[in-house]
Amino acid sequence: MTFLEQVLAILWKDIRCELRSKQTWMGMGLFALLVLVIFNFAFDLRVDNKAAIAPGALWVAFVFASLLGLGRTIAAEREKGLMDRLLLCPVDRKAIYLAKLLGNLLFIGVVELVALPVFAALFNVPLFAGSLLPIVLLGTLGIASVGTLFSAIASATQARELLLPLLIFPLIVPVVIGAVRATGALMVPAANEPPWLGLITAFDVIFLSISMLTFEFVVEE
């Protein structure tokens, strides 16, 4: 079985199991909406300062949604030895990582898909789906690539929900800065803006590779 086939087989299995258990994905969509509504009250978005705050508000919502999505992987592995079923088979550990990553991306993506139109409506921000999409995609990929690796690490501890954000937040700072600034630059184009998308892409490439390569050390006993 080729590498790609292994990834897809595991991913498809994860999706089926998740859909049939019906636990997390509904809650996540609602969560994103709630966060945005609360932001509406928390930040005073008048016309003049809207452009400054809106990108930040959006990305805080996305970061928390990502954390929730990653947390579901941890919750699933709470029973010790849940990975054993997969580790028993002659399947490439990198394929397991990629499948988990894609699964996480899908679930976070569902939330973001719900959140974006609502964001545009609530804050009266024009939804420029074309150019916003790469930023959202690449930014989420950055968060999820590191997050998938560390959710595997944190799942072995007792204080996993505390440890995961502690591990991830410092590391994804470049992605957060880049994504917020890139989103802001879309709303209010500025001259001499640094290549934020390039930074995020570089981050994604580097840390996706490293996470994929080091995953087996983390997940095997």
């Binding site: 079985m1 086939e5 079923r85 028993l88 088979c89 002659p90 006993e221």
Partner: protein, 235 residues
């Protein structure tokens, strides 16, 4: 025929700082079945987990079918079928879907056919479309057996396979083990049941305090003589 299929030399393992296995040497020939007995916590499960390449040993070597487990773990995994305490199945998937999934990962050819045959063999053909969470403990155990046999492994590792099985299930297990031996496969199983161990296997071993304190061929052994040694080890 004289090369053992499974060869374990000087196997040691500690969890944290607590030593569980303190140097195990054993071997199983093709077509042979070896049974390991021992108290709970003696290290039987740990030993099987190492042989199934789920845990790495602290020291020692394991050779399966001539392959060094440390170096060629992936190839070795194809040769091993493991039935553990937990069924290692996905609750939300049906019995058939479980077999198909694992079949894909093991690159089993004509997977659908094979899965159907195995489900028939373990008596779960009627429940193929049911979710695993709906199966009873005994049925899940049978499904686990089917999963272990799916890729035609040469070495079967079974951790107390008789627990949770009814009379019919145990008879089925015995037949399956017999068939596997006749096909030239090797078996290593653990059990608490001394009589069954003597009945099913050619070699018997006693694991106590992390060491194999007793090893012997079963041919001609009387249950009584072994029982004393067994009781001693359990204390």
């Amino acid at each position: 025929m004289n090369h053992p299929y499974l060869e374990v030399t000087g196997l040691k393992k500690s969890y944290g700082f607590k030593p569980i296995l303190r140097g195990i040497d054993l071997s199983v020939e093709p077509g042979q079945c070896m049974a390991l007995l021992g108290a709970n916590g003696a290290g039987k499960t740990t030993l099987l987990r190492i042989l199934a390449a789920l845990t790495s040993p602290g020291a020692g070597t394991v050779r399966i079918g001539g392959l060094d487990l440390a170096r060629d773990a992936h190839q070795a995994r194809r040769l091993v079928g493991f039935v553990a305490h937990q069924p290692y199945l996905y609750d939300e998937l049906t019995a058939l879907e479980n077999l198909l999934f694992f079949g894909r990962l093991y690159s089993v050819r004509r997977c659908k056919e094979r899965a159907g045959v195995l489900l028939e063999r373990v008596g779960l053909a009627k429940r193929a479309g049911e979710r695993t969470s709906a199966l009873s403990r005994g049925q899940a155990q049978r499904l686990a057996l089917a999963r272990a046999l799916l890729h035609e492994p040469r070495l079967l590792l079974l951790d107390e396979p008789d627990t949770g099985l009814d009379e019919e299930g145990i008879a089925l297990l015995e037949t399956l083990l017999q068939e596997h031996r006749q096909a030239g496969g090797a078996i290593l199983l653990t059990t608490h049941h001394l009589e069954r161990a003597l009945l099913w296997s050619e070699r018997i071993g006693l694991l106590s305090g992390g060491r194999l304190t007793y090893q012997s061929e079963t041919g001609g052994l009387e249950a009584g003589s072994v029982r004393e040694v067994y009781q001693e080890a359990l204390r």
